[in-house]
Symmetry: C2
Subunit: 456 residues, 2 copies
């Protein structure tokens, strides 16, 4: 008698899905692992799309694993152009719609992993589906933008949304020699980072000829006779345009989950336990469709990041295959290159700390990436947020042209393990003149915070 | 009545001394703080000497604080060309010898900080004081070497000792277009680092034309009629030479302390408590003249590093001025640039872990500094050492041409706070394509270690 093979179905092929499928197949090599994806491509570098559009990355490099490689190297069956339309948890079946053949049939699962990702939040304005309006949310989006630029030679671009995708696209389109206007609802670009970081990014964008319009909402698109947006209208301006990028943030794709009565959280994403099981038996979830716990505030948040997706995919895949692994949450760690500037944020901003009921103290210091006498060093700006009563580190931002991101990451352990500013001050970091001042900027900032806390 | 001013005397002006003096004056602004130094210069970039000799750093930049600046900006009286010849702990006096005037007199102290540093271990061979044989241990050494190169145009250099000073000097002299031979007692350069790091350094030296002679002891110097070493003799070679650098490691300067019955440790350095008080009342010690606790093995070690000196100086200065600060020990964190290669080590090597009674497991992985598709990324090699039974991280080495040192530092918190490999695996590090692969090499290495520990 053949042993019954466990059938693990994974819905969504971008990041968390492939990660989960590959891990499940590794943990239980006897399982039948199937990855469903409605598009053609799976497992590609979504974070690299702006670099592809800007001409730094080659098209052929974008795909990390083809469906064939996934099958051959990871022992996962991949079914692209296949949409899952419904889940029946009681019968443990899914309704599988083959987009190529137009057929729908029911298939069983033993374990299901929902990794349906996120979509761009629409503006709800006429014209946002015009032929020169693009998202940056799929490989196909990236290819379309690149093709549009090559064929139509747009010279004026408007980007709507000053989050990190908007900022990265501003740089990409400047590299393609366009006039770029970046519209943002807030005063400064980027959310969830220290004001010092936002200011540095705004300055850097300006230095490179990007027109940043703060507190600007779009009122309407004027579509021309060629079904393209010709003008973007704001309350006080009319911006002639050849290319529009919508980077207004994303929301979790939860329709499939919600219809199966999988519980959603206050932030709109699927909620899970630390094993990434949803409220419904045998259904796991991972990636952008989920909420995650902020490990600093201990509150749920929506943080759709590739790192979280990959990590959650591993855990969901392992557990769906019978393993025992946990995902406790994330720090909302964000890194970004803006022209030559590196910026990084981990943990809470002072504003977020206040909302979480903490008593944040903030300190910002300027330092350098090398001993000042060494040639090639760059300025670095470090902002720390700590809790006044417990002296616990709550957040960090670093910006600069050398070693900023890796220095921000240096404080990830402090945030994970709830270390105090006094713990950080004692760290024995390796030093050589080419790599840091004798006192690393992170230590300088920690010392400055300790002094500030003592003065109170 | 005038309040009695506390008189804090600091012996030694290079690194720990100025750090201690400045801190003491800040903590107790009413104190009389005096820094004694037998040479002319204080507070200069000793770590930067090879870069000065190699032509990367300017002479005028080497001095961090002049005696005048120390006085004006830090409220410390500096007495250069002054040697402390004796300490009388019972009378709380020191015998102060003014080298300019040739006078000796007794002065009182309330608190004394010994920061007498270290000296190069002599070979005990005739000719090692010849006019073309140099140490790299003081500003004067650096100036003399640079002057010798400019005046005498040496073309063949022999460096004795393949520690980090020897390796840095090999690069510096190659930059000055000399033929460089590096003699080392061991098989590979550098002590206290992983074999993978030593190998990478050896290869890099070879790639840049440095002749590395392993397991080579020097037998004799042949001195010519101009009082210069003309040949270096090893058991099987005669090396014609114009310039000799002695980089055979250093030993603590403890004569002054020992004569005052300050307790020394098994490694030859002064031992202190965590407040950096010596065994003798009112006498503190800091820097290269001291032993420090290795925070990973919990054993005493001799680790003469600028970072330890600066940190210990702060603590000794604060406590001598009546404050309460502690120095628990160090990780032996070492960073080095070898031509374009960055190398870093923190914690214990596998060999050191075994000596400390631990059960080390080692894992080495290759990764990249950026997402492979991003241009400009470099190869990275990470070696981790962890304890098999507790899964605690014990040491890390990273080498590569981009982001190696800062990545090694990422694990300093793990070593300080005795985290396990499982703790490290969960870290939510910020990611962007320009700064790391989606899984940072440190996480890749931690995952590889976890797998290896499970297989046992």
């Amino acid at each position: 008698m053949m042993p019954v093979r466990r059938r693990i179905c994974v819905v969504g092929g971008l990041s968390a899905g492939p990660s989960a499928a590959a891990k499940a197949a590794r943990v239980d090599p006897s399982a039948e692992v199937i990855l469903f994806e409605q598009d053609d491509a799976i497992s590609y570098g979504i974070c690299e799309l702006p670099y592809y559009i800007g001409g730094e990355v080659q098209k052929d490099d974008l795909v990390v694993l083809t469906p064939e490689q996934m099958q051959r190297e990871k022992n996962v069956t991949v079914r692209t152009r296949t949409r899952i339309q419904n889940i029946s948890p009681s019968r443990k079946t899914i309704e599988v719609h083959d987009l190529s053949k137009g057929e729908t049939r029911e298939e069983r699962y033993d374990r299901l992993i929902i990794a349906t990702g996120s979509s761009v939040r629409p503006l709800g304005l006429a014209g946002e589906d015009a032929r020169n309006v693009f998202h940056v949310k799929s490989l196909d989006d990236g290819l379309q933008i690149a093709r549009f630029i090559e064929v139509e030679h747009p010279t004026r671009a408007v980007i709507i949304g000053g989050g990190y995708v908007g900022v990265e696209m501003a740089e990409a389109l400047r590299r393609r020699r366009m006039e770029v206007t970046l519209l943002h609802k807030g005063m400064v670009p980027l959310d969830h980072v220290a004001p010092e970081t936002s200011d540095a990014v705004a300055r850097r964008l300006g230095d490179h000829g990007v027109t940043f319009l703060p507190q600007t909402q779009i009122v309407a698109f004027r579509v021309d006779s060629r079904a393209a947006v010709a003008e973007v209208l704001t309350p006080d301006r009319t911006l002639p345009v050849d290319l529009v990028i919508l980077a207004t943030g994303v929301r979790p794709n939860t329709q499939l989950a919600a219809a199966a009565r999988v519980r959603l959280g206050a932030n709109g994403g699927i909620t899970t336990d630390s094993r990434l099981q949803t409220s419904v038996d045998n259904i796991f979830a991972a990636g952008d469709c989920c909420e995650v716990r902020n490990l600093v505030s201990n509150r749920m948040m929506y943080a759709p990041l590739a790192t979280n997706a990959a990590r959650m995919g591993w855990v969901a895949g392992e557990n769906a295959a019978g393993g025992r692994s946990t995902f406790q949450g994330a720090l909302r760690s964000i890194a970004l290159r803006v022209f030559e500037l590196e910026v990084v944020h981990l943990g809470l901003t002072a504003a977020e700390a206040r909302v979480a009921g903490l008593a944040p103290e903030v300190v910002t210091i300027k330092s350098t990436s090398r001993v000042p006498m060494m040639p090639g060093g760059k300025a670095l700006c470090v902002t720390l947020v700590a809790d006044r009563s417990t002296r616990r580190l709550l957040g960090v931002d670093v910006s600069g042209e050398e070693g900023a991101v890796l220095r921000g990451n240096l404080l990830a352990p402090a945030l994970h393990h709830r270390l105090t500013i006094d713990d950080v001050r004692r760290w024995d970091l390796a030093y050589a003149p080419s790599f840091s001042p004798l006192w690393d900027p992170i230590l300088v900032a920690a010392n400055a915070m300790a002094r500030k806390l003592e003065q109170r």
